[in-house]
Amino acid sequence: MRRRRAGLPARRGHLRDDVTGWLFAAPVVVILGVFLLLPILMAMWVSLTSWNGQGSPFKGGVPFVGLDNYSRLFTRDDLARQDFMTSIRNNVYYVAIVVPLQTVLALGLALVVNSRLLKGRSFFRSAFFFPSVTSSVAVSVVFLFIFGNSGALAQLLGFFGVKGPEWFSDSRGVLHLLLGVDTPPAALADHGVFGLSWWEWLSGPSVAMCAIIALVVWTTSGTFMLMFLAALQDIPVTLEEAAMLDGAGRRQRFRYVTLPMLRPTMFLVLTLGLIGTWQVFDQIYVMSQGAPAKTTLTPAFLSYRTAFRDFDYGAGTAISFVLFLIIVLLTLFQRRVMRERRG
């Protein structure tokens, strides 16, 4: 018998090993190739055409328009650009609120649940986590009812003598409401960039969008709480004890011991949050379809609508590639910022 290195299969000939390895991986490779790589290539082609959904996009006769579908999103003064920019604005506000809120909430819940003094921790942990595992469509239905015109939230606010807004038909921007301005100052209304006036850019999320934000924070915080919890449990008790002996107060311990140990998890939660929030779709589809007054329109939903409702597959695909690019760039940017901080 030949000698073998421990743990490694015998190299009885490279070819045979290669065949075995690729055979094992073949189903995954083929399916990812056919349903991931191939579609992306096809979509790249379609985004360069103005295919209208009739017949095959890969035959002659489909009008080739070059980069027109992309450039019109930024340069041409028409409704397509306006809708796209509106969706970007909506999503920026959405991301800017959801990501910090869910991160802070998840961290807070994790800290409380992790506290060794409390009983019934596993019950609470499950309660916070449960919304994350349910169907996005089903919980959207629940929130439609809660935020509805005669819904649970309206009644709850009524107990406190507050008359809540009609969430899903209220297109007013929250920033506008907070500042108490109804009519835009001319300086903001008359100037703008990318087809939206500054007034429109600075609207904040609409009241309707706030309902969706509440839903999303509610569903995703649980998952992120678990990640923080796992990281908290990995912090050696001795480290905290040492800090305690050094006379560090609770706040100082959190600031100088806990937080630095949580940094990798924090990075992960922020990254996943950023990637996830730019893709919001299910909730929009079920709850609002972009209404009222386009204030819950997001790039993901817009790309879907442009392709499947307006039969403009080229433009719809172009929007999704731009969205892809946004996500990639933001992730890279974030990675760089976090690395600089660390270094």
């Binding site: 743990g7 090993d17 290669d18 065949v19 075995t20 390895g21 094992f24 991986a25 995954v28 399916i31 056919v34 349903f35 579609p39 979509a43 379609v46 409380v112 649940v113 506290s115 409390l118 499950s126 309660a127 916070f128 986590f129 449960f130 994350s132 595992v133 349910t134 169907s135 469509v137 089903a138 959207s140 239905v141 629940v142 439609l144 509805g148 015109n149 819904g151 649970a152 709850l156 009609e166 899903f168 509610w218 678990l226 992960l268 996943l272 730019w278 893709q279 779709f281 299910d282 079920v286 609002s288 009222p292 790309s303 879907y304 499947f308 719809g316 695909t317 999704s320 969205l323 892809f324």
Partner: protein, 276 residues
């Protein structure tokens, strides 16, 4: 004294948030047993008055929910079985087989995990259409029967199995598949359970893929049917007991599995987290 106060505050925070996180489900259950006027008049009340199962009767007789339920079950079971088997195969190859291109393949799997699913809607539709699979059970299942995250989880687990367990079997002359199937796979039971649970949960809740894979109502799964039942209804206060009842039925299977296999969900969430 101070300790007592902080314990009290801790509980107060926990109970408050537990209410915020759980009460919507209480409302959901309660409302689905309410009459329509009752649901509109006292949406917050956890007790239906009067109690009625009329909404569920209408769900089963007036909508296609039984059909959606059947489709969901079929699709979720096939998807789960497929994902568990195929992901393990690939994970095993990536972890324990030496072959040329292995590290590049692993890199490709990681890259695939980073592709945001939302940009694939239209592309997936295009490819299904080209292959003539659009609007079929195959379209619902095949494109998502493997997932890169599952491959990653299995690879990580196989990495943790001590080297050399395959040796004995190999000396007995077993082929690579036999070694995988009857020696290594049984050792991966915990990872397999985790993968099964999160695959089932993902498959059961899958919505956007069904949107671009089928349009025939006979092929709708529960989330798709439910979405069409309510979409665009914009808070118009009609038929909420019915809609919430249907949503409840979509939630129950996952809820049951959650209660039984909770720690696997927890592990799944954390396994998924290490992929960043």
């Amino acid at each position: 004294m101070r300790r007592l106060a902080s314990t009290f505050t801790g509980y107060a925070i926990l109970v408050f948030f537990a209410l915020v996180f759980v009460y919507p489900f209480v409302i959901q259950v309660a409302t689905s047993f309410k009459t329509e006027p009752d649901a509109a008049a006292s949406p917050l009340s956890p007790i239906p008055h009067p109690l009625t199962t009329a909404a569920f009767e209408r769900v089963f007789t007036g909508t296609d929910l039984p059909l959606w339920l059947g489709n969901s079950l079929l699709v979720a079971v096939v998807l789960t079985a497929g994902r568990v088997f195929l992901d393990s195969l690939a994970g095993y190859a990536l972890s324990r087989l030496r072959f040329r291109g292995r590290s590049a393949l692993f890199g490709a799997v990681i890259a695939v995990m980073a592709v945001p699913g939302v940009v694939l809607f239209i592309p997936k539709f295009l490819v299904l259409n080209q292959l003539g699979m659009y609007d079929s059970y195959l379209a619902l299942i095949l494109p998502i029967i493997v997932d890169a995250a599952g491959v990653f989880i299995m690879k990580q687990f196989f990495d943790s199995i001590p080297a050399g367990v395959e040796e004995a079997a190999r000396i007995d002359g077993a082929g690579p598949f036999r070694v995988f199937w009857s020696v290594v796979l049984p050792m991966a039971r915990p990872a397999l359970i985790t993968l099964t649970i999160i695959s089932f949960q993902g498959a059961w809740n899958e919505f956007p893929h069904t949107l671009v894979a089928v349009q025939d109502p006979a092929l709708f799964t529960l989330p798709r049917g439910l979405a069409d039942l309510v979409s665009g209804s914009l808070g118009g206060g009609t038929q909420y007991p019915l809609k919430l009842g249907a949503a409840l039925l979509a939630t129950i299977p996952v809820a049951v599995i959650f209660v039984i296999f909770q720690r696997h969900f927890v592990r799944g969430a954390n396994e998924g987290s290490s992929k960043g």
